[in-house]
Symmetry: C2
């Protein structure tokens, strides 16, 4: 575990803290598509991502979904922190988008390390800052962009986090993430295909030059 941890967090945490983390934390591997947090859950530990990507979703009262952002290597779930600290329920759903390796830190350590290690403090605040910026990006997309622009952005982001130009998603799944409808997504994807930006196949999309 120490090696994995050092690879992803060695540049920001000193050895003493890394040792503490290894002692207190649990290493986990999560398969693709696993629901890690459900809305309303109480969360008792905080994840440090080693590899992979986790999709963070919001849901409204009718069960409609919207992709907020992805967590990646070096990230932690700020919402989880916030929930843990305040002992509140989760406001979001988390699903592994790829196979994911992570380290689960029990929440009690959070506060202890904040007073003890400046590097941990910096990490926590940096995380909040990053997550707020991700949320601002989400707001920007939904508020200021048309569906075709949002779709393009979605595909780019998906290619980036999965590190492959083959997107294994059905149009329906994409529609859920964007909170749109299958027909709309199919229509816009077809337009992108005609522009030579991608190739459509059954259950997957090969991107060319987005």
């Amino acid at each position: 575990m120490m090696q994995e941890l050092k690879n992803s967090y060695g540049h920001i945490f000193e050895d003493e803290l890394l040792n503490e983390i290894v002692k207190a934390a649990v290493y986990k591997e999560i398969p693709e598509g696993h629901k890690m947090i459900e809305i309303g859950d109480y969360v008792k530990s905080m994840p440090l991502l080693i590899s992979g990507a986790i999709k963070i979703l919001r849901e409204d009262t009718d069960g409609d979904e919207l992709l907020l952002y992805y967590l990646e290597k070096g990230d932690t779930c700020t919402m989880t922190m916030a929930c843990c600290m305040g002992n509140k329920k989760s406001e979001i759903r988390a699903i592994s988008e790829t196979k994911t390796k992570l380290i689960m830190v029990p929440i009690e350590k959070m506060e202890i390390w904040i007073t003890k290690y400046k590097s941990w403090r910096d990490f926590v605040f940096e995380s909040y800052h990053n997550r707020i910026n991700e949320l601002l990006n989400t707001v920007d997309s939904v508020a200021f962009l048309n569906m075709d622009q949002r779709l393009l952005q979605y595909l780019k982001e998906k290619v980036r986090v999965t590190n492959t130009n083959i997107i294994k998603k059905t149009h329906q799944e994409i529609a859920y993430d964007l909170h749109s409808s299958r027909v709309v997504v199919s229509r816009l994807l077809k337009k992108l295909e005609k522009l030579g930006k991608l190739e459509l196949h059954r259950s997957h999309i090969k991107t060319i030059n987005l």
Copy 2:
């Protein structure tokens, strides 16, 4: 200043911290409609709101605006904290929506007090948590609601933060906040008037039962 501070923050900060705040901070009164932070600004102190309301706005590349949320008594600007800590530029614009009283804390104290006072630490994390929830609400509104629902929600929120049922806004100003157009807002407001929910007047709206 101590009295003002105690009224708004006395229940969460111990006397020792309150004293430190009074020593380090500056009291300010801001008139209505004053631009307090511009996008791209570097911020060097952190506001603690005593009274009034501050509007937090997001802007896209074309200059289109969107109201994110209001800060009120007992709130602090988490974005400002994040900016200060990371020495980053502001991602948002802040404009006083009413006359506002606040206390400005120099950013150096932030980190000192975080290690020294649990109450301050709790306050900081609580603030982050609150702000993230406000952003989630904004995402929900923009992603899941129609314009008529968003308008209604906007009016309710405006009534709440200004504590009066007379909304002194032109349709154009409302359109800016919602990132819509004047004609659309006029149309929907007219519909609400016909439903008996409000009275339309030149440059102001009297709400009846939203």
